[in-house]
Amino acid sequence: MSFVVERSPVPGWLTERISNRHLVAVGIGWVTLFFVFPILFLVVESLNFGDGSLFEAYRRAMGGVYVDAFVRSFIYGFVTTVLTLVFAYALAYYLVFVSDRVRLLLTLVVVPLWVAYIIRYFGLLLFFSPTGPLGELGLEIDLLFTSTAVVLGLANAYLPFAVLPIYNSLNAIHHETINASRVLGAGQFRTIREVVLPLSTPGIVAAGVIVFILATGSFLGPAVLGGPNQAMIANEIARTFLEAYNIQLASALAVIYTVLLVAFITAFNAVFNLQEALGNL
C-alpha cells in the first residue's frame, strides 16, 4: 500500500508561485552560499596584501616541489583513472551480461565504501608488508612506497565509484543491438569493440571524470602507501597549511590546482559531452 498525500503541506498561494526557476535558484543558492563564497574568500586569502607582490604566494607555488607535486598528481590521476576504468569495465560487463547474481556482486562492489579510506589503505599496507599474508607465504613483493603502490591503492579505493556509472550505461544498451552486430558478422570481441564499448562511452566518461577528480586530489593514498617521492598536491597543500602554517601559500596552491582541474575538465568537455555523460552516474 503506497502512501498517498491528500492535502498539500504548502499553502496554495505559495505552490502557485514556486516555479522551476525558483527550484534552480534554491539549489544554486545553497551551493553558492556555502561553497562558492568560501572558495572566493580563499582566493582573496591567497593574495598577498602585505609587503611585496600581490601574487607572492603564486610565485612561490610555481617553484620546484610544487610543480613536481602538480605534475605527479595529474600523472597519478591519469594512470589511476585508466587502470580503474579497465577493472571497472570488466566488472560491470560481467555483471550486466553474464552474471545471475547481480545484487550480491553489486553489494560487494560497494562494501568497501563502509570502511574508512585510511583503514583500507592500512589493509593494503599490511597485506603487502613482509609480515603480511604474502610475506608469510614467502612471496617477496617490493611494491610498497612506490608510485605503483600509490596508483594501485587509489585504483582500489575509487573502483566502486567507477563501476556504478559504467554498470548503468551498459545496462542501458539495447540487447538487440548486440544481437544485430552478431548477425551482421561480428564476433564477440569485435562486437564489444564496435558496439558495446562505444555505446557505453557515457558511463566510461562519467566514471573517468569522477575517478580522475578523486584520484588527482588524493591525500591519504600517497601518505600511507607512498614514499618520499610520491607526495601529491593535496599532501603539499595540507603540509603548507598544517606544518608550515602558511595559509596564503596553501590557498594559492588550492586555487592553482582548481583552475588546472577545471581547465582540464573543460577541455575534456569539448571532446565529450560531459553533462550528458555525468548524468549516467
Binding site: H174, E176, N179, A180, R182, G185, A186
Partner: protein
C-alpha cells in the same frame, strides 16, 4: 534453402517452441504468423544462432548450421526495434555488415550507396538513426540486413509500432524490394493482414506449435483447425454434428441447422466458420413477406431452410461499427450464436433492428 527440423526450445520449464519443422525454398517470402508470446522470436533467434535450441536442427543451403555462431551463418536480420547502432550514421550502419564480411573500402562505398538508393534514402547517409522517422529507420535496418547479400533475410515484426498509414506504405515497399532482390525471406508477424498480403506461404504458430503451413488463400479459405480459422480473420462460428438430409450435408448444432457443402461423414463433430464478408444482413421488414421472421428454426423443429441453397437465420442487431469502406454488423441469432456480417458502408441498419442473416453453404468452412 532453409530447412528447420524438430526445432524445440525450453526456457526452464516453459516450452516456448515445440518440435517445429518447415522448409523455405530459394527466393520465397514466407511468413510466420502467430499471437504474441507464441514463440516466433524464439524460433527466429534459433535460426539466426542467437539462441541455442534445446533440440532440433537448422540447415542453410543444405549445410547443418545448428552449432554455428550467428556471425558465421551469413544471415540478414531486421529487428522489431530496428536495433540500429545509435552511435553510427546511417552509412556506417549499412557498412557495418560489409566490413564484417570483408568487403574492401571501395566495394563497401559502392554497395552502401546502392542500398541507400534502393531504400529511397540516398541523401540520408550521414544522418544518425535518431534523426530519422520510424519508417525511415526501418528501411535503414533493412538496407543494413541486405547490403552484404545474405543467404536469407529474417524479419522480426519490422512493421509493429508504425501507424496504419505508414505501415501500409512500408508493406508495399518491402514486397517490392524483396521481389527486386529475390532474397529468400522469413517474416515474423502477429498481423494477419501482413501475412496474407505479402507471403508465398504462411506458417501459423500457436503456443510454440506449428498449426498450418500453406498459401495465404488456403490459410484463409481452408483453415486447418479452429485456431487458424479464428486467428486469421474474423468468423461466425457454429459447433455441431454432421447429418445428411436429402443427400445434402447438414450440420446440426444445439439449436439450429446449417447447410454446408463437401464430403463429410455422418455423425462427425465439426466446427463451422463463415467469414463476415460472406454473410448478408437484411432488415426483416424489407423481405417480401413482411411481418415476422421469414424462417423460423428455433428449438429442434425440422429445418425448413436446410434443403434450400441458402442458410438464413433471424436475429437482432447487437452492434454496428462503421469502418469507412464497410460496416461491421454484429447480430445475435435467435438460436443463440453471434453472427458477424460486413455490409456496404453506412447501411440503414441500427442496433436493435430485427434482421435476417443469410450465407451460402459454399462459403461455410467445415473443420
Amino acid at each position: 534453402m532453409l530447412e528447420v527440423t524438430g526445432l524445440t526450445k525450453y526456457y526452464g520449464e516453459l516450452l516456448a517452441v515445440d518440435d517445429v519443422s518447415f522448409r523455405i525454398d530459394e527466393g520465397d517470402f514466407v511468413t510466420l504468423l502467430g499471437p504474441s508470446g507464441c514463440g516466433k522470436t524464439t524460433l527466429l533467434h534459433m535460426i539466426a544462432g542467437l539462441r541455442e535450441p534445446t533440440d532440433g536442427q537448422v540447415k542453410l543451403r543444405g549445410e547443418d548450421v545448428t552449432e554455428l555462431a550467428p556471425e558465421d551463418r551469413n544471415i540478414g536480420m531486421a529487428f522489431q526495434s530496428t536495433a540500429l547502432f545509435p552511435h553510427m550514421t546511417v552509412r556506417e550502419n549499412i557498412a557495418y555488415g560489409l566490413r564484417m564480411h570483408g568487403y574492401d573500402a571501395e566495394e563497401r562505398d559502392a554497395q552502401v550507396q546502392e542500398f541507400l538508393e534502393l531504400v529511397d534514402l540516398p541523401d540520408h547517409g550521414d544522418h544518425f538513426p535518431d534523426e530519422l522517422s520510424g519508417g525511415q529507420q526501418q528501411r535503414v535496418s533493412l538496407a543494413r540486413a541486405l547490403a552484404y547479400e545474405p543467404d536469407i533475410l529474417l524479419l522480426d515484426e519490422p512493421l509493429t509500432g508504425l501507424d496504419r498509414v505508414l505501415r501500409e506504405e512500408m508493406r508495399e515497399w518491402l514486397m517490392t524490394l524483396q521481389r527486386e532482390l529475390g532474397v529468400t525471406s522469413l517474416y515474423v508477424t502477429h498481423d494477419q493482414e501482413d501475412a496474407l498480403s505479402m507471403s508465398d506461404k504462411v506458417i501459423v504458430l500457436d503456443e510454440g506449435e506449428k498449426q498450418q503451413a500453406a498459401h495465404p488463400e488456403t490459410i484463409y479459405e481452408q483453415p486447418a483447425n479452429e485456431f487458424v480459422a479464428t486467428f486469421v480473420g474474423k468468423s461466425t462460428t457454429f459447433d455441431g454434428t454432421v447429418t445428411t438430409v436429402n443427400d445434402l450435408p447438414i450440420v446440426e448444432t444445439e439449436s439450429t441447422r446449417v447447410a454446408v457443402t463437401g464430403d463429410h461423414d455422418d455423425g462427425e463433430d465439426v466446427s463451422l466458420f463463415v467469414r463476415p464478408e460472406d454473410v448478408d444482413v437484411e432488415p426483416v421488414s424489407a423481405t417480401a413477406d413482411g411481418g415476422t421472421t421469414t424462417v423460423s428454426q428455433t428449438g429442434s423443429t425440422a429445418p425448413t431452410a436446410a434443403a434450400t441453397a441458402e442458410n438464413a437465420f433471424p436475429g437482432t442487431v447487437e452492434k454496428v461499427a462503421n469502418l469507412g469502406n464497410r460496416t461491421e454488423v454484429t447480430v445475435t441469432l435467435e438460436s443463440g450464436e453471434t453472427a458477424l456480417a460486413n455490409t456496404p458502408r453506412f447501411p440503414d441498419i441500427a442496433v436493435g433492428d430485427e434482421v435476417t442473416v443469410t450465407f451460402d453453404p459454399e462459403s461455410v468452412v467445415v473443420v
